[in-house]
């Protein structure tokens, strides 16, 4: 019986060694250590032994059983590890394969510029005012100190709908309407929107384009306030080290009128192709609101004063992003639009 036990042990250890996977090893466990296995049988068969041999034999069987179990468990751990390893290897990915694309669109570059400007002025306490694109001649011209027959109307050849109605040539009628509605109270607004002029479309002209204007009216608003405001705008929009300069100009609705240049953001002022070698780039027109404009809207020009400024988002986008042809903004070529996807801060 002892010899039988020894043989069983040898056999079991051999089979354990030969098992190549968890299942085979489990089969070995069941075969040798299970309730119906030979070792159990041996224990059951001990009843036939003389009583004095039983304890010794019992102990011997247990030792063998423990030995086999131990070896089996060790093998089991190894095989399990190998199995996991094999699985991991099987599941390995080519991580350089492309991911599932998340397709998103983006703002039109003009909206991008307009919203950036809006947000900047909102942070300075401005509200956004909007108005109709088809306007009365009164709001588009007359209320802005451009009576019928004024020479400056030449500058703005317009699309008329009837004698008194036209597609607005600038966003200034929104200012006129806001002033009329505010009935003499202070104003601080930004007016973005589409405008129209009777131009043939080419690389630098578009019969439809965008404008964004600002208007501040209050007690003792000074030209220095305009200059300070424009400087904040230039720095936020084009970089902290931007300098501005004002040049005299003319707009019928402001007096004095100026044009604002910023120091070139590309070359810093030394001269390049962006600034046409001058070191300065013209960005916007501005001025102190003309007293006629104030009076026409019911403001007392002796008590209140204001400033206004206006610029073209197309021009700003063209300068900022190096766009060479204004028609790109209205062609809606996906290859163009999709380039304005990423953030810039």
């Amino acid at each position: 019986m002892e010899a039988q036990l020894q043989q069983l042990k040898e056999e079991a250890l051999q089979k354990i060694e030969a098992s190549q996977n968890v299942k085979e090893l489990n089969d070995v466990r069941v075969a040798y250590l299970g309730k119906k296995g030979p070792i159990t049988d041996l224990l059951k068969g001990m009843g036939k032994l003389p009583a004095e041999e039983r304890p010794k034999m019992g102990a011997l069987v247990n030792v063998v059983r423990e030995e086999v179990t131990e070896v089996l468990e060790a093998r089991m751990t190894l095989l399990q590890e190998q199995a996991i390893q094999a699985q991991l290897e099987k599941e390995s990915l080519d991580v350089t394969l492309p991911g599932r694309p998340v397709k998103t669109g983006n703002h039109h570059p003009l909206t991008r510029v307009v919203e950036e400007i809006e947000d900047l002025f909102i942070s300075m306490g401005y509200e956004i005012a909007e108005g109709p694109e088809v306007e009365k001649d009164y709001y588009n011209f007359e209320a802005l100190n451009l009576p019928k027959g004024h020479p400056a109307r030449d500058m703005q050849d317009s699309f008329y709908i009837s004698e008194d109605i036209l597609l607005r040539t600038h966003t200034s009628p929104v200012q006129a309407r806001t002033m009329e509605a505010k009935e003499g109270k202070p104003i601080k607004i930004i007016c973005p929107g589409k405008v129209y002029r009777r131009d043939n479309d080419d690389a630098t002209h578009s019969h439809q384009f965008t404008q964004i204007e600002g208007l501040v009216i209050g007690e003792n608003i000074r030209m220095s306030d305009l200059k300070g405001t424009l400087s904040v705008f230039a720095k936020k929009m084009f970089g902290e080290d931007r300098e501005i300069r004002l040049r005299p100009s003319f707009f019928p609705f402001t007096e004095p009128s100026v044009e604002m240049d910023i120091s070139c953001f590309k070359c810093g002022g030394s001269g390049c192709n962006v600034c046409k070698k001058t070191g300065w780039i013209e960005i916007l027109g501005a001025g102190m609101v003309h007293p006629n404009v104030l009076e026409m809207a019911g403001y007392d020009s002796k008590k209140l004063s204001g400033f206004a400024f206006g610029m073209g988002p197309e021009r700003i986008a063209m300068l900022k992003y190096g766009v060479e042809d204004i028609r790109h903004f209205y062609t809606n070529d996906v290859r163009f639009l999709s380039q304005f996807h990423r953030t810039e801060v």
């Binding site: 919203e115 509200e127 694109e133 020479p151 008329y160 009837s162 030209m223 220095s224 040049r247 004095p256």
Partner: protein, 803 residues
């Protein structure tokens, strides 16, 4: 305005400033200098030559062999110009010379004959062809006999000069003259002015003996001066005058015409010279034209006049369109001996109207339109008379014939130094202010805290205190203005709720994969109402530039479809665009069209393209519908949103729906009609348009949280067999209505139509979720509720459970 810096220096000392620096100073203080043009254009070695001999080339008919004295030697030059001749003084580019455009002159052989240089036309020296006197337009230029061979030709031709090109704003018409510019430069540089001379001896005869004058339209023509000059000799003007005119962009003709143009450039006062004898009647009558009256103008065009066009007549018929252009019938010609010189003040509005009616603009009309200086009308006439005496040998008759009812009093502007400083945010001293006014030659006085200023009549833009603020500021320097921010009651800025929502709509659509497009509001009349959500009259332009852009759009879809075509034609796999913009529904009581903000989107091509993992999907109706459903969820309107089959022209009749919120139409969605797709060369394309204004203005319930329940929900799936035509939305509505309070969600998860179904039937499967936030549901409760749903489906939709 083109300003010759050499000519300018006759009226004001420019201190030897480099023209570039001068230009910069002018720009910074008020008038933009658009360009500084060096007239030499890098030319060298261009000298005067004397053609001693000129014979035909034996080998070439059109070539001449010239022996030319160029000072240091006589050299042979081959010249192909038809007008070259022996005895001429000409312009010679010597070998080694550089001409504009970098052209280098070398010795050459032409048909076997040596040529040592080139005899030049003015065009070859960089002068625009339209400015070259007609006599020399087709050949070389001939210099006066006094020119000295071998001397540089550039100073003789005034080409050793720099031109400042001024970009004038409409208010600065005072700078449309050399004198006007001189005033400005004088003020900038603190230099005094030198005025042109106008001295001549008057004849014993009086102008009034020769000519009578009547003005019948005093409002349009408040001042008219005519001088008569006898015995003029028509010839070429002296070279200095010709090259000054060319520098100013005016073509020389003959001395009389050139003098009128010269004075126009000098004073900004347009003049006109009539051939006195050709006037025939010895009288001038200025009146409004008769409707339909005709005149042939100097450009040989017959023009039909309107009744508000002002004309100069000889008492019988028009001889000039006032302030715009003279008539051919009284034009000065080679045989003219007596001229009548007109210097007048024509009202700007009248000239603008006439110029517009006749579609004719001239240097004269441009100046009258903006208003000439009333005080220069007589000065200019006298200056012209003196030049006619000097350069045309004319005899100036005594006096002038004059009608003058023009108010020439200067505008008085009263302004306090405090006002100026308050407006600017500065502290400029009174002394500095008065010194600036002195430099500007503004007549002024400081008294009891105010400045009393008489604005000079040449500066018609100076009318109100703010104008003085600008004059002081620009001369003091805008760089000196400090930078401050408005001091006021501080109020938060921000977007309106509409504007904020609109931004969220944009962000959502972009997140969903659409690019923002911006298209034109103007379209063709044919396209203007296509896909419109509501019927309204169109809004058309009075004078469109083309039929393509003649009418305001009533839908955003047509232009978006154009963008799809454009991109598809350029191999775009996917086109997904949206636009937020106004449509224009005519007409309302105010006369303005009603502008309604719409949102539209188009999709075409691939929607999902991740093929290596087997995911690929073309756009379809439900892609676009899903985007709109998501949008309405974002805006809090999912519960009110429904889609109903609809028929819209241009869309696929089986794949189109109207979109409604709480039963009210807000838009349409559908596939472009296959025949439309074919016309546009497009594959399946889906479109949607919403009345965005209506959606964003719709009230939304306040956002309020519902507690998240601890109790489980129970889900029951049902597969129904119904008639093929039965809409899923109808089944869903029946389920929702009949499910009672415990039914929390219904979700369609399968649709089957095909072989395994009886013909005319389809299977639709829903998943129903029952749930009570207060407790765990019992089986019985769920069965009860569920049975009610099944019963309703059977009764109302004939739906059977699929076995």
């Amino acid at each position: 305005m083109l300003v010759s810096t050499k000519w300018l220096a006759e009226y004001v000392n420019t201190q030897g400033l480099d023209p570039k620096d001068l230009g910069e100073k002018i720009t910074r203080s008020g008038i933009e200098v658009d360009a500084v043009i060096d007239r030499t254009q890098g030319m060298t070695n261009v000298v005067v030559g004397y053609v001693k001999e000129c014979v035909k080339h034996p080998e070439a008919d059109k070539l001449n062999i010239c022996q030319v004295d160029v000072g240091e030697e006589t050299t042979q030059i081959i010249c192909g110009a038809p007008n070259v001749a022996e005895g001429q003084k000409v312009i010679v580019a010597r070998p080694g010379a550089v001409l504009p455009g970098g052209i280098k002159i070398k010795k050459a052989k032409l048909r076997g004959e040596e040529s040592n240089g080139m005899i030049c036309s003015l065009q070859e020296l960089g002068i625009e062809g339209r400015l070259v006197p007609k006599a020399y337009a087709e050949g070389i230029y001939v210099l006066p006999e006094t020119a000295v061979p071998g001397e540089s030709a550039l100073p003789l031709l005034g080409l050793d000069d720099t031109i400042l090109e001024l970009g004038l704003t409409p208010n600065r018409s005072d700078a449309l003259s050399m004198l006007g510019v001189a005033y400005e430069v004088g003020a900038i540089l603190s230099e005094d002015m030198k005025y042109p001379e106008a001295t001549y001896t008057e004849s014993d005869e009086k102008a009034s003996d020769y000519l009578s004058l009547r003005v019948d339209a005093i409002e349009e023509n408040p001042m008219y001066v005519a001088k008569v000059v006898k015995n003029v000799q028509i010839k070429e003007s002296p070279l200095w005058l010709q090259h000054r005119l060319m520098a100013a962009g005016v073509r020389p003709h003959n001395n009389v015409v050139d003098i009128t143009n010269y004075v126009l450039m000098e004073y900004g006062q347009p003049l006109h010279a009539f051939d006195y004898d050709r006037l025939e009647t010895k009288e001038l009558v200025i009146r409004l034209a008769n409707e339909g009256e005709k005149i042939v103008t100097l450009d040989d065009q017959e023009r039909t006049l309107k009744s508000n066009n002002l004309v100069i007549t000889n008492g019988k018929e028009p001889v000039a369109i006032a302030g715009v252009m003279g008539g051919a019938n009284s034009e000065v010609h080679d045989g003219t001996t007596t001229v009548a010189i007109e210097s007048a003040y024509f009202a700007g509005g009248s000239v603008r109207q006439t110029s517009k009616d006749q579609n004719l603009r001239s240097d004269a009309s441009a100046r009258f339109e903006k208003g000439v200086d009333p005080n220069r009308v007589i000065l200019a006439a006298e200056r012209a008379a003196s030049l006619l005496a000097e350069l045309a040998g004319g005899e100036v008759l005594a006096g002038s014939v004059v009608v003058d009812e023009l108010d020439k009093t200067p505008v008085e502007v009263v302004v306090s130094p405090d006002f100026i400083n308050n407006r600017l945010g500065m502290k400029i001293s009174l002394e500095d202010m008065t010194s600036i006014l002195t430099r500007l030659k503004f007549d002024h006085q400081a008294a009891n805290g105010y400045l009393y200023i008489n604005a000079p009549t040449r500066r018609q833009d100076i009318k109100i205190p703010e104008d003085i603020v600008e004059e002081i500021a620009r001369m003091y320097g805008y760089d000196e203005i400090p930078m401050t921010l408005p001091v006021e009651e501080s109020k938060p800025g921000g977007l309106t709720s509409y504007q904020a929502k609109r931004r969220q709509v944009r962000a959502y659509l972009e997140g969903a994969g659409l690019y923002q497009a911006i298209t034109y509001s103007l379209t063709s009349k044919e396209m203007s109402q296509k896909f419109a959500l509501e019927t309204a009259p169109v809004t058309e332009l009075l004078m469109p530039m083309s039929e393509e852009r003649s009418t305001l759009r009533q839908s955003l879809i047509p232009h978006l479809l154009d963008a799809v075509s454009y991109n598809t034609a350029r191999q775009a796999d996917t086109v997904a665009l949206y636009e937020v913009g106004s449509v224009f529904l005519g007409e309302t009581e105010s006369g303005l069209p009603h502008e309604q903000e719409h949102l539209a989107a188009v999709i075409a091509g691939k929607w999902v393209d991740h093929s290596w993992q087997g995911e690929k999907k073309a756009v379809d109706f439900f892609v676009l519908k899903g985007i709109i459903e998501g949008l309405m969820e974002l805006l809090g309107h999912s519960k009110e949103l429904t889609f109903e089959r609809a028929v819209v022209e241009g869309l696929h009749p089986g794949r189109t729906a109207s979109i409604k919120l709480a039963g009210e139409g807000i838009g349409l969605i559908g596939q472009l009609h296959p025949s439309e797709q074919k016309v546009r060369d497009l594959k399946d394309t889906y479109v949607v348009e919403l009345n965005l204004a209506k959606v964003l203005n719709k009230e939304v319930e306040a956002l309020y949280y519902a507690p998240v329940s601890k109790f489980p929900s129970i889900t029951r799936d049902i597969a129904l067999v119904v008639d093929s035509e039965k809409a899923a939305g109808e089944l869903q509505a029946i389920i929702q209505l009949s499910g009672g309070r415990l039914l929390k969600a219904v979700h369609l998860f399968d649709l089957y139509e095909g072989e395994k179904m009886e013909p005319g039937k389809k299977s639709v499967a829903f998943s129903l979720t029952y749930f009570d936030p207060e407790r765990t549901l019992t089986d019985e409760e769920v069965v009860n509720a569920h049975n009610k749903v099944l019963k309703a489906l059977a009764e109302q939709a004939g739906a059977e459970l699929r076995g």
